[in-house]
């Protein structure tokens, strides 16, 4: 269809037709610019200042905020704890979910019900996950606490002693992040040719080996995507779990970067310092995003 015919049939002038797509984008970009890009630049700008509590007075301090962060023992501890907490959660969650997806992929009776039960934690919040596990691990009323005592002889105050407070958070995070990973692995497994699946699972004594040698590599693009998503959720979304279960304690034992940022920014009102922390978190986030788009299978193709 010729251009002139097209505009004529479409009603309106060609100018209107040209402007139209931009109008469609306005609502989305208003939100994205005002509430993502503007705060990002605001944090970057403020990270070079020392800002008074009410934000009225600001003194340019250059990189001082960043320097004091990197010489702050508590901050470095939070970096370390974030790495350990996120790393442990992601690795266990990925392997466990792959295993569960393999099981769910078998056509056994009742698999629909098992699927529903295993997916269920996806629907609940991180705060709920924290409350549930806080209950299960409670030294007086908790069922998991009881089973741990009976089965392994572990008797402790889970949420308030080292290293159990960290274990408790990791339990809750794995439980919460598992279903998301299972859902994606299951979808990926269903696109693996059924002959490959059959041959790998049913045959021979070394079927386990085949799973790792054949199936796991086949779904590696999904694994990469899930690792990225799990890093993001274990680092950023787990705030609610920490706040409900341990409040970053005992001491600062379970304070991760987001919890530290919350304390500095909102409890202690150190705006400049918190802005610097925020810039660092944002940069970490961008690195993860860039990693994903550089090495990951393209999630969305632009045309």
């Amino acid at each position: 269809m010729g251009r002139s015919v097209r505009t004529a049939l479409f009603g309106g002038s060609s100018v209107r037709r040209k402007i139209f797509p931009y109008l469609l984008l306005i609502p989305t970009y208003l939100v994205i610019i005002l509430f993502i890009y503007m705060p990002a630049f605001d944090a970057l700008y403020n990270s070079f200042f020392r800002v008074s509590v009410f934000g009225r007075r600001r003194i340019f301090v250059g990189l001082q905020n960043f320097l004091s962060l990197f010489t702050d023992k508590d901050y470095l501890y939070a970096v370390n704890f974030t790495l350990v907490y996120t790393g442990t959660t992601v690795v266990i969650s990925i392997f466990l979910s792959f295993f569960l997806a393999l099981l769910l992929d078998q056509k056994v009776p009742g698999s629909k019900i098992y699927r529903t039960l295993i997916f269920a934690p996806y629907a609940v919040s991180y705060a709920v996950a924290g409350a549930l596990w806080g209950f299960l691990l409670n030294p007086v009323v908790g069922h998991v606490n009881y089973l741990m005592r009976i089965l392994f002889g572990i008797q402790t105050h889970w949420l308030t002693t080292r290293p159990f407070a960290a274990y408790s958070l990791i339990f809750a995070s794995i439980w919460k992040t598992l279903p998301f990973n299972v859902i994606f692995y299951l979808a990926a497994l269903q696109s693996v040719p059924s002959e490959v699946m059959e041959a790998s699972i049913i045959d021979g004594a070394n079927s386990w080996k085949r799973v790792w040698k054949i199936i796991f590599p086949l779904v590696s693009p999904i694994t990469f995507y899930l690792v990225i998503m799990s890093i993001i959720s274990a680092t950023f979304q787990s705030f609610a779990i920490i706040d409900v279960m341990t409040r970053g304690g005992p001491g600062i034992y379970t304070t991760n970067l987001v919890y530290k940022l919350y304390l500095d920014g909102f409890r202690f009102q150190k705006i400049g310092l918190a802005s610097a922390e925020n810039v660092i978190l944002f940069v970490m986030m961008m690195i993860v995003t860039i990693l994903y788009f550089t090495y990951g299978q393209r999630r969305v193709h632009y045309q």
């Binding site: 049939l9 989305t28 208003l30 569960l100 019900i113 934690p121 409350a131 919350y262 986030m285």
Partner: protein, 279 residues
């Protein structure tokens, strides 16, 4: 013969493993529901009990007394519905722009949006976002809890992906019938996209309902807080080291999204995977 026998054994092993793992994973939710309807004697018994007896509604009544829970449920519902509708509105419009139009700057703006795909601004940018919201005077309002979340890259891409699958012939036919681009959008494109809209809606609703840190920070007054925050408030309320009450609050916080998930599981899973890995 040997092969089929092996198959049966495998099936039984898988079945048992599945029963154990699905029960273990669902147990925390189930136990919360059980404890929420049991009296303190039951909740505090040692060794802990698993099977419920009778129905004890007092925990729920107490939860509503400790915090303004009814109001908080209303807050959560209003906020989640508003965010859901907003994301569908902005996402379908911008998705339409990218799917059906070629225009100058489409590539660069697309990447500007693309870059924000994984960013939960309410966490990653919480300090500056809070400053902006305070300057606008929006603390303790619904605006603070909704306006910043009315658009997302995910929604735009989900819609764009879907609109691209709709044959061009529809657009041509609409054009020949004299429909404007907007009429084509509302009369043809949207009705053809009902499943994807429903799928995006439940994902958006779940995300909004489950937000925690941001509502906690911008709502200082109890009457503006959400159910997720209420869990922690009830936990901290000194009078109620009673896990029955805490679990009652937890159940209220988890039930809407859990029911939604049980009712629409297939749609949920399909849209989640579609938003994540569609090529």
């Amino acid at each position: 013969m040997k092969r089929s026998k092996k198959r049966i054994i495998k099936t039984i092993v898988f079945e048992i493993l599945l029963i154990i793992s699905s029960l273990l994973i669902f147990a925390p939710i189930l136990l919360a529901i059980i404890m929420s309807i049991q009296p303190p004697e039951f909740v505090f018994s040692y060794p802990p009990k698993f099977l419920p007896r009778g129905f004890f509604v007092q925990n729920y009544i107490d939860a509503f007394k400790i915090v303004p829970f009814a109001r908080m449920i209303l807050n959560s519902a209003l906020i989640s519905i508003f965010i859901t509708l907003g994301k569908l509105f902005t996402g379908s419009l911008s998705g339409y722009a990218y799917a059906n139009f070629s225009f100058k700057g489409s590539k660069i703006t697309f990447y500007v949006l693309f870059a924000t795909l994984f960013i939960p601004a309410e966490i990653v940018l919480i300090v500056p976002l809070f400053r902006i919201i305070s300057r606008l005077g929006w603390t303790n309002t619904y605006w603070a809890m909704t306006i910043p979340f009315l658009a997302s890259a995910t929604n735009t891409f989900l819609m764009q992906q879907h609109f691209k699958t709709i044959p061009k012939e529809f657009e041509d036919a609409a054009r020949i019938d004299g429909a404007t681009p907007m009429q084509y959008f509302t009369k043809v494109l949207l009705p053809l996209s009902r499943p994807i809209i429903a799928g995006a809606a439940i994902i958006n609703f779940t995300y909004a309902w489950n937000m925690y840190l941001w509502p906690m920070i911008v709502a200082m007054e109890d009457r503006m807080k959400t159910v997720q925050v209420a869990i922690n408030m009830i936990m901290n309320a000194e009078s109620s080291n009673n896990w029955g009450i805490i679990m009652a609050a937890t159940v209220v916080a988890l039930l809407p999204t859990l029911i939604l998930f049980f009712a629409l599981q297939d749609l949920f899973v399909k849209s989640l995977v579609g938003s994540g890995v569609k090529g």
